[in-house]
């Protein structure tokens, strides 16, 4: 079970950063590619992650289990789906109502990335809860988890910006991320079953 949780934490980090990088691409046709675009995206990702950390920690207090952990991944996968279908319409809607591209891109970031990123932020604290068995090892385990998930973020950033955008269309990359999250949800869910036997 333990390696599975680390794998999931790694993938969580990977997906978050891959999504963040695609964010710039998604917003550019409506809000341009100025530095404020990155300002909007990073602000919303940081804010969403911080809320996710809080909620993930809260959720981990009552009956922590791998199937609940799996549910986090499943929900994130589902919440990312609208991005492939409705992103254009949503951005058009905001573009027509908000003249200033700074606030337009900020609002679009909230609508497009806010909710899925909150859910993805829940992964890290929940992983800590599943792995820690006593107080003495909590720091070591939290450190190892940060290591693994931030490594995932680094690799997600690199793969997306160096290769994925060259090989695939943007929606294909998002669908791959969704597929990856769904697969990990299934893995965590089945791991829970075998673990509890």
């Amino acid at each position: 079970m333990i390696p599975v949780i680390y794998l999931l934490a790694f993938s969580g980090g990977f997906v978050i950063m891959s999504l963040e990088l695609l964010g710039g691409r998604i917003l550019a046709p409506y809000f341009g590619s100025g530095i404020y675009i990155w300002g909007s995206i990073i602000t919303i990702f940081m804010l969403s992650l911080s809320i996710g950390y809080l909620l993930g920690g809260r959720l981990s207090v009552h009956n922590p289990s791998s199937s609940r952990f799996a549910a986090i991944f499943a929900v994130a996968a589902v919440l990312l789906l609208p991005l492939t279908v409705y992103a254009q319409d949503l951005m058009e809607f905001i573009f027509l109502r908000v003249e200033d591209p700074r606030y337009g891109s900020l609002l679009a970031s909230v609508v497009l990335f806010g909710l899925p990123t909150v859910i993805l932020g829940m992964i890290s604290p929940y992983s800590v809860r599943l792995l820690v068995e006593n107080v003495a090892e909590s720091g070591r385990i939290a450190g190892a988890l940060y290591f693994v998930s931030t490594l995932g973020s680094a690799i997600g950033t690199l793969m997306t910006s160096f290769y994925f955008v060259l090989w695939f269309e943007m929606n294909t990359i998002i669908l791959l991320l969704i597929g990856c999250l769904a697969l990990l949800a299934a893995l965590a869910f089945s791991a829970d079953k075998t673990f509890n036997k």
Partner: protein, 309 residues
Amino acid sequence: MSTRMLLLLSVLWAAAATAAPNQYGVLHEERSLYTRILVHQDDDLLCLKFTLVRSDSNQSCKDLSQPKRMVFAYAQMSMAALLFNPTPKRILIVGLGGGTLPMALRELVPTATIETVEIDPAVVRVATDFFDYRSDEKNLIVTEDARVYGKRAKIRGLRYDLIILDAFNGDYIPEHLMTMEYLQEMRELLTPDGTLVANTFSTSNLYHHESNSYRQVFGDFINYRRKDTGNRVVLIPQAQRDGDARTRLTKEQLMARAQELDTDLRPYGVPIIRIAREVAAASRARPDWNLRKRPLSDQYSPANLLRKP
């Protein structure tokens, strides 16, 4: 030291001083939000650059002994637009550089209203301070992202007789300004007889991808290349119409237009008669790129990666 020796030295000194009046070097350097900007002078040539290392990175140059002269071939080549409509009323230019194109068009077509969109306020400042770029009530500058500006212009109902896309000479290519969706937005901003001109790349893999993007949106276009430059100019007269609904000018018509423009364009060093001849040849040419390369879209536009050798 003897007087003769001193005299000799001073003569040598004076000779050295007159032999080398060359201004040479970097006059100004600044790092903007988007790029590093250098103003470099070599003798009479004052250039705006984005890097010192590559010699071909000149964005825009001014010949101080003939300030009107267009130094670069691609700037001269884009004046081919005037062959199709010598008096456009509304002109949109994407990318300011040193302001060569808007300043020349301001003088050549005094009745036209010119809007230049430049994302980088530092480029506007440098063009004004070093290259005598001057905006006025008919020569407007907008400091904004060109994609955003275009979308807003469409909503405001603006239409242009001439659109010049000139944002692709720097080291970093704005990828969202190369996609089919963007070109379609530009197409919708043109009047029915309006011309689209784009200064773009003729080297690297990007040439194929980009050419196919233009082809997807506009159908046939005039792919005006010269062997001596790394640039090519995409020329699309009546770009808003479908390919077969466009009136094609014959070589004779082009040459006649060139004759009329020749006197006006001479101070700018634009060899319009040669250009007309080349454009006539280019409009008969078949595509010389790989038609199977994927066109660039909002979904797929790794222009900066495709440009790598």
